[in-house]
Amino acid sequence: MIKSLKSASHKLSDPVYQLQLLNNHSESLRQQPKFREKLDEIDLFPLKPTGIEIFQMNVGYMCNMTCKHCHVDAGPDRKEIMSKETFEQCLDALKSSDVATVDLTGGAPEMNPHFKWFVEEASKLGKHIIVRSNLTILTTAPKYQALPEFFAEHMVEVTCSLPFYSKSRTDRQRGEGTYDKSIEALKKLNEAGYGKTGTGLELNLVYNPVGAFLPGSQESLERDFRQQLQRKHGISFNNLFTITNLPISRFLNFLLMSDNLDEYMDRLITAFNPAAAKGVMCRNTISIGWDGRLYDCDFNQMLEMPVEGEAQHIHDWNEQKLNSRSIQINQHCFGCTAGAGSSCGGATT
């Protein structure tokens, strides 16, 4: 089994070290403009929320996979899991809020023992629920194999990782055998009505580049995926979201090991797009960690950069205060503002 950086006590599991690298690893990185300066140039600093629309909960870093690009450093050896008490605090916050969307991520969120209970409870509140699934988990134990029907029953939107429509490229990023299992899971989701016209059951795919390059046009990649998955496997889906790999955690490790860090940061910074900066997801999202701590996004969560202010935990939920906070930024944020922009919902421009 591949170990997570954390359990291998790798120095890249230290967020302070990661941020030092992004800022000072080489002369080239030291000379790059800071994210703050780029926001300043377009009058976006300090970066302010536009209002919380998405309540994104990271329900644990445990995962059945250990993908090479994972910004969470998730894996079977990660034991951080959201407790029922924290889930309950999230429900309390949701009850008092008009936030329409609950976005469940991990790790593999399905592996949290309270996952199904929480989906049922959040569904009763009338919230739209998104689950970010790695797909392969849906092919493992029978309790996970039964999830497509459970998702359908609660009209959960399934957004799942599929970095490419070829086995070799997908397996290089996510591990041997991933592509075949993902296809099996997608077929089951299709059978449950997902990705089919008229069912209202939304199935979205997430594309990440398998290497040190940016995603191309979301529209044309979506067209290719649709054509290839239909032709090769008879699979249909709703949307493809292109997501840029942020230079943190395991992807940062890959960039260092392959000597691509300077070049990749240069690509991200050169491709800074003011329109993408205006539409960054941290402006309409709040990220809740497995332990209830609040962050501007899942990336800041992994870098242990909590929200500004004193109310940094879900039990201190105060939407008004959160909406007036300044968003924490650093050099990794260039990943969300490059080219067409990148968010959990894909391109932002």
Partner: protein, 111 residues
């Protein structure tokens, strides 16, 4: 002076060629961008043609640029390799087809 003719860092300075003649450079880059837009050919097909031409003209800057561009546009390794073979076949064929000229000459000179 540089110690080598090619420096990978120079690729990033391509846009600077306008320094000694901005008007023509501007016309060139406008044309260049228009050429690579989606049209009757997709942007990915154009990128693969560019990759093949890059090999035919043996431009290391263009090979770097259009390998990255191909990956970004979702081209597969197989597609990129086939594009290189197309370049190889045409450049090889271009040499070989001149063999006919050689044969014609031999035949015209020989008894």
């Amino acid at each position: 002076m540089e110690k080598t003719y090619y420096n990978p860092e120079d690729l990033k300075k391509f846009g600077d060629v306008g320094e000694f003649g901005p008007e023509l450079a501007e016309k060139f880059f406008d044309y260049y961008s228009a050429v690579f837009e989606e049209g009757a050919l997709s942007a990915r097909e154009k990128s693969l043609i560019a990759l093949a031409v890059a090999h035919a003209v043996q431009c290391p800057y263009c090979i770097d640029a259009y390998t990255t561009d191909g990956l970004e546009k979702g081209a597969t390794e197989e597609q990129m390799m086939e594009a290189v073979h197309v370049a190889s076949a045409i450049t090889g064929g271009s040499s070989l087809v001149h063999g006919v000229q050689m044969m014609n000459k031999v035949k015209s000179l020989s008894m």
